[in-house]
């Protein structure tokens, strides 16, 4: 590959001499630029100097303000020259210099002259330059010419005007929107690219008008589209229309699907691919709809062009996450891609195969991957490791070969992220596959014997302390752990001490030996290590008497801190800020646990939370909500926040004021947080509040509200309304809302608001508090264990007919959403074409009641769906409530 370059090495010296920019220096070039001022312009010389200036800029050299201004002014002199090539360089230079507003005026007249020139090249380029550097006021002056240019018969000129329009729409939408008629005309242009640019601009002008977009798509899909690029664009707009219109419920047909399918037979590859990609991402796409798209992608897989292979395998990889069965037809082509020269393609092929593979192919696949792993980069390896973990969870019986594979790659060279991915995977496998525990733990033990990453060592030691004592022969781990105390840095030593203590607490027979080891740690030279050893010796009764470890101690050692650390941090900060005599009470820390530690969601595509993974997204928003609410004195007495819902939009998109509501559920109260955004630059809203009519929510009574003092343009603000409700009861109801405020006009040029305001109100949509609002999604790592340990005492089983449904998947997701619970073990994914499905859910109901639900669905030929619902919880009322929710939903 590098062959031709090596040959060149011999004459590298000669080559360097010929570089026209050798030894180029900014100061000298700026001096040279004086030729621009010569009365007799040498066009060729000037072009060269401009090229040099552009070269400098391109190499990352910057001009000071003064230098730039000087160059700019002298460049403008070059408009005198009639040399076309020079003019072209002048245009380029002006664009690169991006002159300031007062400088722009200097060139405006020259550029406007060029815009009306008879030379097409001048017109096209002058438009592009002028639009690049212009501002609103100047734009109104040249608007007339731009409108003309859009319908110019020279396609280059028209395209230049249209593309400039697309850019200007960002800064001066109101002006560009006035060009609709011309743009509309350009869409019908016979020139392929003009149509493409016109279509892009027209769509952007109309993008907020759904009806107009839909009309545009309808007319064009029937008409002629000339360039592949425009066709791709139309496919994108079509999928947008499809997404917004939904499936025709009577016939089950999707509007415009035929058009997309037709594009699969287009002659341009980019169009075929764009259409195939659009089909694969249709929401709720059926197997019948997918098949033609998969077929063309499969053809791409064996293309000689790497770009096509990559595009196809990347798309199929995404499809495999949701419709693994649909992709299995491509498996043979995919397997040949494992040896593809292009490593990105090979990695995508492997991970796709891992997703679609069946139990029997696992071993063969693993062999191929082993050969492949050694020569790819870490980033690819991590992708493969993730895929292997999912595979292992899918086929637990295959854990032996997969675990072996993981332990092999763990021994090889690799960076932190890669090693962490492997360790995380092993940990998850140990938790979910009981048979894999012993071998997995030993692999981890061997790894920490020679592990350069402190973080991983401590995490593994912690994990070992929890899992090791429960194995058949715990004593064999002691050696590995104590080795850490001897060999490692202080952080790891301290962890090892804790782990030893856990073994001591759990296994009485090991106690005497553990005490000996812990006593040795009392002489460690690190404070933390000594402190821990002392603490554990005392709590475990290390003074010699071998007693049964009491429950409190075990609780202390093993009890996980069931408080999200971010909540803990917030509470501690509050405590420090408001000093008091009372000691800090850990029970006062809110416990809303939204993170799901060490739960591997088998749903493909979701990032697993591995060992010590940071809490996922929801916690941080919950944390923000918590901070906001606790900062409002009126609400502090409500106690601890149980759940915050996702925002519910109360306005249509693109209206004057955008408002959504977040429902915060407390034990005896509900607080509605209205997030308001003012989208009108000319207005300032003051004293904003929401009047809530709760006549359709009988169990609620309003207890307070907090208005928003001022809501300036584009700065979101919140106003709150609080309601009281019966304690612990999942009261439901409907609320109507009216936004009230005082409007003040704002002078947009100065940003100052007028003194006098007008009272006004704005109708918002209604929303409801539903039973699902009282349910927090909390996953369980092993549903079957959780189910059995819950016991059948408060089990309630019943059957329901759900009537005709669009599909099984749709019925399943409806029920999941209705209950607002966390699907476990990936059971929310319904394989396409299946006639029955079971789904496992878990959650935490208000009053901190754990709830587990088993759903069994069946669908018959007439799409009638029947469902069996089994609930287990800690309280029979809660179990009944779940049935009520379903019965009434």
């Amino acid at each position: 590959m590098a062959q031709p370059l090596v040959k060149k090495d011999d004459d590298r010296d000669d080559e360097a001499e010929y570089s026209p920019f050798l030894g180029i220096e900014k100061g000298a070039v700026l001096q040279e630029a004086r030729v621009f001022n010569d009365p007799q312009l040498d066009a060729r010389r000037c072009s060269q100097v401009i090229t040099k200036l552009l070269y400098l800029l391109n190499q990352g050299e910057t001009f000071t303000k003064i230098e730039a201004t000087e160059v700019f002014f002298s460049v403008t002199k070059l408009f005198q020259s009639r040399d076309i090539g020079l003019r072209r360089m002048v245009y380029l230079m002006i664009k690169e210099l991006s002159p300031s507003a007062d400088e722009v005026i200097i060139v405006t007249s020259s550029l406007m002259k060029d815009m009306n020139s008879r030379t097409d090249m001048y017109r096209a380029n002058a438009i592009r330059v002028l639009c690049r550097i212009t501002d609103g006021t100047l734009l109104t002056q040249i608007e007339r010419y731009l409108k003309q240019a859009i319908v110019d018969k020279n396609p280059v000129v028209a395209s230049a005007a249209l593309v400039s329009g697309i850019h200007l729409l960002q800064t001066n939408p109101e002006i560009v929107k006035r060009w609709s008629n011309e743009v509309q005309e350009a869409v019908q242009s016979r020139a392929a690219l003009v149509q493409f640019h016109a279509l892009a601009l027209l769509h952007q002008i109309r993008q907020n008008d759904r009806l107009a977009v839909s009309k545009l798509v309808t007319s064009l899909t029937k008409g002629t589209v000339r360039s592949p690029l425009a066709q791709c664009l139309l496919i994108r707009y079509t999928s947008q229309v499809i997404r917004e219109s939904g499936v025709n419920t009577q016939t089950g047909d999707r509007p415009f699907y035929d058009y997309l399918e037709g594009c699969l037979r287009h002659k341009a590859e980019m169009v075929i691919f764009e259409a195939a990609r659009a089909i694969t991402v249709l929401s709720g796409v059926t197997t019948r709809e997918l098949t033609p798209a998969i077929t063309v992608l499969q053809l791409f897989l064996s293309s000689s062009k790497p770009v096509l292979r990559f595009a196809a395998v990347r798309t199929l990889n995404k499809v495999a996450m949701t419709h693994p069965m649909a992709v299995t037809n491509c498996n043979i082509d995919m397997e040949s891609l494992i040896s593809d020269q292009n490593r990105s393609i090979a990695t995508l092929a492997i991970t796709t195969l891992l997703k679609t593979g069946n139990e029997s192919s696992v071993d063969r696949l693993m062999k191929q991957i082993t050969n492949f792993m050694s020569d790819i980069a870490d980033e690819f390896k991590i992708v493969v490791v993730d895929a292997i973990r999912s595979l292992c969870l899918k086929f637990p019986l295959k854990y032996r070969s997969l675990m072996n594979f993981l332990s092999n790659i763990l021994r090889e060279e690799g960076g932190f992220e890669y090693k962490k991915a492997i360790v995380d995977s092993i940990v998850i496998l140990i938790r979910d596959i009981p048979d894999a525990k012993e071998s997995g733990l030993l692999h981890l033990c061997e790894f920490i014997e020679d592990c350069e990453f402190t973080y991983l060592s401590t995490q593994i030691l912690h994990f070992l302390g929890n899992e090791g004592p429960k194995t058949s022969d715990p004593s064999k781990y002691i050696r590995y752990i104590y080795n850490r105390v001897i060999l490692e840095n202080a952080t790891v030593r301290a962890s090892a001490v804790s782990t030893l203590a856990k073994f001591g607490a759990m296994i009485d027979s090991l106690k005497p030996r553990i005490f000996i080891l812990l006593r040795r740690c009392l002489f460690d030279n690190d404070d933390e290590v000594r402190d821990r050893a002392t603490l554990y010796l005392n709590t475990l009764g290390g003074d010699g008497s071998v007693v049964e470890t009491d429950k409190d101690v075990k609780e202390f050692l093993f009890g996980s801190l069931d408080i999200p650390l971010t909540n803990m941090e917030t509470s501690l900060k509050n405590y420090i800020q408001n000093p008091s005599e009372e000691p800090f009470d850990i029970n006062s820390v809110p416990k809303e646990v939204k993170s799901q530690p060490l739960v591997e969601k088998k749903a493909p595509g979701k990032k697993p939370t591995g060992l010590g993974a940071p809490p996922t997204g929801p916690t941080s928003t919950a944390d923000t909500y918590e901070r906001i609410l606790s900062s409002i004195p009126e609400f502090t007495s409500f106690g601890k926040l149980f759940k915050s819902s996702a925002p519910v939009e109360l306005t249509e998109a693109e209206t004057e004021y955008a408002v959504n509501v977040v429902k915060h559920i407390f034990d005896r109260h509900v607080v509605f947080q209205y997030n308001c955004t003012n989208t009108i630059p000319e207005q300032l809203l003051e004293n904003v509040f929401v009047i809530v009519d709760a006549s359709e929510a009988e169990e609620f009574s309003e207890v307070g509200s907090k208005p928003l003092k001022s809501l300036p343009y584009d700065t979101p603000g919140q106003t709150f309304v609080a309601f009281e409700k019966p304690e612990g009861v999942p009261a439901v109801g409907k609320f109507s809302n009216m936004l009230r405020f005082t409007v003040k006009e704002v002078d947009t040029s100065t940003g100052e608001a007028e003194d006098d305001g007008v009272e006004d109100e704005y109708q918002l949509e209604d929303f409801e508090v539903v039973a699902a609002d009282y349910m927090v999604k909390v996953g369980v790592s092993n549903f079957r264990n959780a189910w059995e340990s819950m016991g059948p005492d408060f089990e309630r089983i019943d059957e329901y007919g759900l009537g005709p449904r669009e599909s099984l998947a749709e019925a399943v997701s409806t029920v999941i959403n209705l209950l607002g619970m966390q699907p476990c073990e990936g059971t929310e994914v319904v394989p396409s074409n299946s006639r029955s499905h079971s789904c496992l859910l878990s959650g935490l109901y208000i009053g901190n009641m754990k709830v587990l639900v088993r759903l069994s669905f069946g669908i018959d030929a007439s799409k009638e769906v029947a469902m069996k619902l089994a609930v287990r919880s800690e309280d029979e009322n809660v179990s009944d409530t779940i049935h009520d929710i379903v019965a009434s939903g």
Binding site: P4, N58, A160, H167
Partner: protein, 177 residues
């Protein structure tokens, strides 16, 4: 997805990963340092691959990167991760072939630097502010070439006059040493 196909940058590097001509259309790389770091990452990731017969492709920092090499010139086009790979490849091919036409088949670093004006104009004719203007190599080259010399002169004469001009410059430079 509803957006117009767009290009984040076009890069032309040499066999050591140094810039010959680059143009960025996205704010993903706000400073020159960020740009240089990106170019370095691009070069390191791709230099060992064989992208001489067909354009190659990879992902880098959540971007799609298509590239093609000839002699000591390395051509790259970058797009967002949701971009249609084949559209990006079409832009790359247009750029690659147009440069080939403009340099009259002598596609190497020296020739590229000596005709840097043409290369810069070429990039300017392919993409405007991220939006694709033209992907057909002949149209691109025609637009650039018709600017570089007197529009009236026929193509064959251009070749000679250009050759003469270059020869003159070489002569002048060697005399000055």
């Amino acid at each position: 997805m509803e957006t117009c196909p767009s290009v984040k940058n076009i890069l032309l590097l040499d066999s050591e990963g140094k810039r010959i001509a680059v143009k960025y259309y996205s704010d993903d790389w706000p400073t020159n340092n960020a740009k240089e770091a990106f170019e370095k990452a691009v070069f390191n990731k791709t230099q060992k691959t064989n992208a001489r017969t067909e354009a190659e492709i990879t992902m880098l920092e959540n971007n799609i990167l298509v590239y093609k090499f000839v002699q000591d010139l390395y051509f790259y086009v970058t797009g967002g991760e949701d971009e249609n790979e084949i559209i990006l490849a079409a832009v790359l091919q247009g750029f690659f072939d147009a440069v080939g036409i403009l340099l009259r088949g002598n596609v190497d670093k020296r020739e590229a630097l000596e005709n840097l004006d043409l290369i810069l104009l070429c990039i300017d004719e392919i993409v405007d502010g991220g939006i694709i203007l033209e992907t057909d190599a002949n149209s691109i080259a025609t637009k650039v070439a018709s600017n570089s010399v007197d529009a009236g002169a026929p193509l064959s004469e251009q070749t000679i006059s250009q050759a003469l001009a270059t020869a003159r410059e070489h002569l002048a430079r060697s005399l000055l040493k």
